[in-house]
Each structure stands twice: as structure tokens, then as C-alpha cells.
């Protein structure tokens, strides 16, 4: 399942997509939860009883601002969360 967390507003589209089929195969116990400097990731049991990463509810409506520090303007060349996710389950839409 592809879970898209985020929103679209007048300024653009801001979604973090998590491929839960890849996420369940995580060999490094969800490094994304430790990689995110804003502590935006959590591990949940989804509706189909899989333990997967998700974006914490308060951050789902503020991604454009929360992720700013990890974008090129913040001095990063790669995103900490997508880099830490070795199965390649996490994608940013912007």
C-alpha cells in the first residue's frame, strides 16, 4: 500500500509517500524514526495489522514548514529520512 501523508494547498503539493510493502521488509528497525531531526515518524500497526512507519498526525498538515530544514535550502544534499530508509519506501513529492 502507498500511504500518502500531507496536503495540497494554494502554495503547492506536499506529500510524503510511504510504500508499506517495502516498509514491512525494513532490515534496520525503521531507521527513519531516528533519522528525522523533527521526530516526525512513528511506527504504527495499520488496518491490515502491518507494523509500518507513518507521519505523526500533527505534522501531516505542516510538512512544507517541518521539512524545510532538510531540503537543499537548509544545506542538505539528500534527505535524512529517505537516505536512512534502505528499502526505499519513503518519497517526498516536492
Amino acid at each position: 500500500m502507498i500511504a500518502n501523508y500531507g496536503y495540497k494547498d494554494g502554495s503547492g503539493e506536499y506529500y510524503i509517500s510511504i510504500d508499506t510493502d517495502k516498509c514491512t521488509q525494513c532490515p534496520i528497525e525503521h531507521a527513519c524514526t531516528r533519522a528525522c531531526p523533527k521526530d516526525m515518524y512513528e511506527i504504527i500497526t495499520d488496518d491490515y495489522d502491518d507494523r509500518v512507519a507513518a507521519i505523526k498526525a500533527p505534522h501531516r498538515k505542516t510538512l512544507a514548514y517541518d521539512c524545510t530544514g532538510c531540503k537543499p535550502a537548509g544545506g542538505h544534499t539528500t534527505l535524512p529520512c529517505t537516505t536512512a530508509c534502505t528499502p526505499g519506501a519513503i518519497r517526498h513529492s516536492w
Binding site: I2, N4, K8, G10, Y15, D47
Partner: protein
């Protein structure tokens, strides 16, 4: 179907054009006492609450009521409406109850809570058939685009609950502003000589001021409504395109009852939505009741319900 009409305003009271009709229905050809498993789904949404009762995985009854300020009360109100109509059925007769919707964790008699994403997909699969792949839920204060497989299992989803644009609440605001009953908005949006372009902003706040500006510029109410319906359709199409639209396509939620949005949406997608004999608003609660049916078969009747 027995429906409850919206209460007429008292003298001096402001008419609420946004008020939609609540409904309660029970299949009187069935006897619930014959069922092996009775399950229920309760969908407490931000604007409406639905309760669905199923007997052995078949729809037996439902209610669709307005959500109040308190989720537990709204859930109780919805289920009691069905139970009263069902003749002798009590909460203890429900062997498994699943709560869903934004108030799902506050359904006091629920055995489990499941997200509305999964429940809408399951409900649409029941209502529209196993060929349904893309579902658009246009809810009261959010909009969900869901992709599912032939069993109604979600394969891709996104939800926009940050902005009221493209939601039922947006339509309610326009109904009040235009002083047109909400059920008439769709049909009246087609009563225009030339289809107008969409309003430039679907933001509920800005659309309101833009609609007022258009009225002042001499546009008819019908033309303004048509422009707003077009804007809503364009808005949700952009959400749907993000997950990819695949046949068959199904619309759930209250706005599925607004042909002004649905027809324009179908025109933009070049795809007709699957029609159903069921009330589009019960999809989430129906899916929750179906999850309950699967769970009670797999796990048995929960201890509390069994002792009751």
C-alpha cells in the same frame, strides 16, 4: 425507506439552507433474529454520523444523522435510531462493533477502531462491486482519494484534511450564501445558458468573497453555483490524479448526491462513476460493519458481548 425530514425553522429563526436530510432505514423483509452474526459499523464524521447494522454480512439497516459536538453522543444517536427501527434489537445483540471516522476512538460500544480509509474501500467494494478500483470520498471536512484491489483492500491513498476546499462543508457554506437548499444546488447548477468558468479560488473563505463579487457583477445565483461546482470538481480531480484514476470509479460521501459536482467531475475525468442503490454516505460505516463480520468469524464474539 423511512426518512426524517429536517425540522422547519421556528418563527423568527434563520433558515439553514445547508441542512441536509437525516435518514433511517431498516430492511423489513429480513428478521434479524435469524442471523448468526449481527455486526455494526459506526462512522463518526466531522459533519455526519452513520450507523450500519449487518446480519451475516448483509445490509440490514442504517441511519445517517448529523454529528453533534460530542462524538460518543453522536455514535449513540446514530445506532439508537437503527435499533429503535429494528424492533427489539438492543446494543447487546450486536456481536461486534467497529468504529471509524475521525471520532472512531470515541465510540463507547466499539470493539475495534479502523481508519475510514480502509472502511470506505471495503464499503465501496460492497456497494459498487469488486471491479471498483478508484474511490473518491468527498466528506464533510476532508477529501480522500483511494485506490483498492478486487477485495477492497487499500493499495494507495491520500487524504486532504487541511483545507475545506472540495469538501461538504464548502458546499454548505455556498448553500447558505446563495440561500439555496443544499439538495437543490446540483440541479440548479445546470440551469445556466452557458457553462461558466470555475471560480478562481476553491478556498471556502475566498470563494465566498469571490461569489459575492460575482453576484454584484450581475451573475445569477445558478451561474455562481455552477462556477463553484466546477471549481470543486477541478480541485478533487487534481487529488485523484495523484494516485491515478483507474476504472471502475466510485464516489462516496455526501457530495456524491450533488450531480452538479459529480457530472462535472465525470466530464473532467472522461469516466462515469458507478451508480449504486445504496446511500453514498454509509460507505464508511458499511465497510466498518463488514470488517466486524470478518473479525467475528475469525476471532469469535468478544467476551463482553458474549456475556451480555
Amino acid at each position: 425507506m423511512n426518512t426524517t425530514a429536517a425540522a422547519a425553522p421556528a418563527a423568527g429563526e434563520k433558515k439553514e439552507y445547508w441542512r441536509w436530510q437525516e435518514s433511517v432505514w431498516v430492511d423489513e423483509t429480513k428478521n434479524w433474529r435469524d442471523a448468526k452474526f449481527i455486526t455494526a459499523g459506526i462512522d463518526v464524521g466531522s459533519v455526519s454520523s452513520q450507523a450500519v447494522v449487518m446480519c451475516d454480512g448483509e445490509l440490514y439497516g442504517y441511519s445517517s444523522m448529523r454529528t453533534g459536538s460530542n462524538s460518543p453522543d453522536s455514535a449513540n444517536n446514530a445506532i439508537k435510531s437503527v435499533l429503535e427501527k429494528a424492533g427489539g434489537m438492543t446494543l447487546d445483540d450486536l456481536q461486534f462493533v467497529v468504529g471509524t471516522g475521525y471520532g472512531r476512538v470515541n465510540v463507547p460500544f466499539a470493539n475495534k477502531a479502523i481508519t475510514e480509509i480502509a472502511c470506505h474501500a471495503r464499503g465501496a467494494n460492497y456497494m459498487g462491486g469488486s471491479s471498483i478500483r478508484t474511490i473518491l470520498d468527498m466528506g464533510g471536512q476532508d477529501c480522500k482519494a483511494i485506490h483498492c484491489d478486487e477485495r477492497g483492500k487499500v493499495t494507495n491513498f491520500l487524504m486532504n484534511d487541511k483545507c475545506a476546499a472540495g469538501t461538504g462543508r464548502g458546499m454548505e457554506v455556498i448553500a447558505d450564501l446563495m440561500q439555496i437548499p443544499i439538495a437543490d444546488l446540483g440541479p440548479r447548477s445546470f440551469d445556466v445558458d452557458v457553462e461558466p468558468p470555475a471560480v478562481s479560488s476553491v478556498c471556502v473563505v475566498f470563494a465566498k468573497s469571490e461569489a459575492l463579487g460575482l453576484l454584484k457583477a450581475g451573475w445569477s445565483k445558478n451561474k455562481v453555483v455552477a462556477a463553484y461546482c466546477q471549481a470543486m470538481a477541478e480541485r478533487v480531480v487534481s487529488l485523484l490524479e495523484r494516485i491515478g484514476v483507474e476504472k471502475d470509479f466510485f464516489i462516496t460521501g455526501g457530495i456524491a448526491k450533488n450531480p452538479g459536482v459529480v457530472k462535472r467531475l465525470e466530464r473532467l475525468l472522461k469516466l462515469e462513476s458507478v451508480q449504486t442503490k445504496y446511500d453514498s454516505q454509509i460507505a464508511g460505516a458499511l465497510g466498518a460493519a463488514l470488517f466486524g463480520y470478518t473479525l467475528v468469524q475469525k476471532q469469535g464474539v468478544p467476551a463482553k458481548a458474549a456475556s451480555g
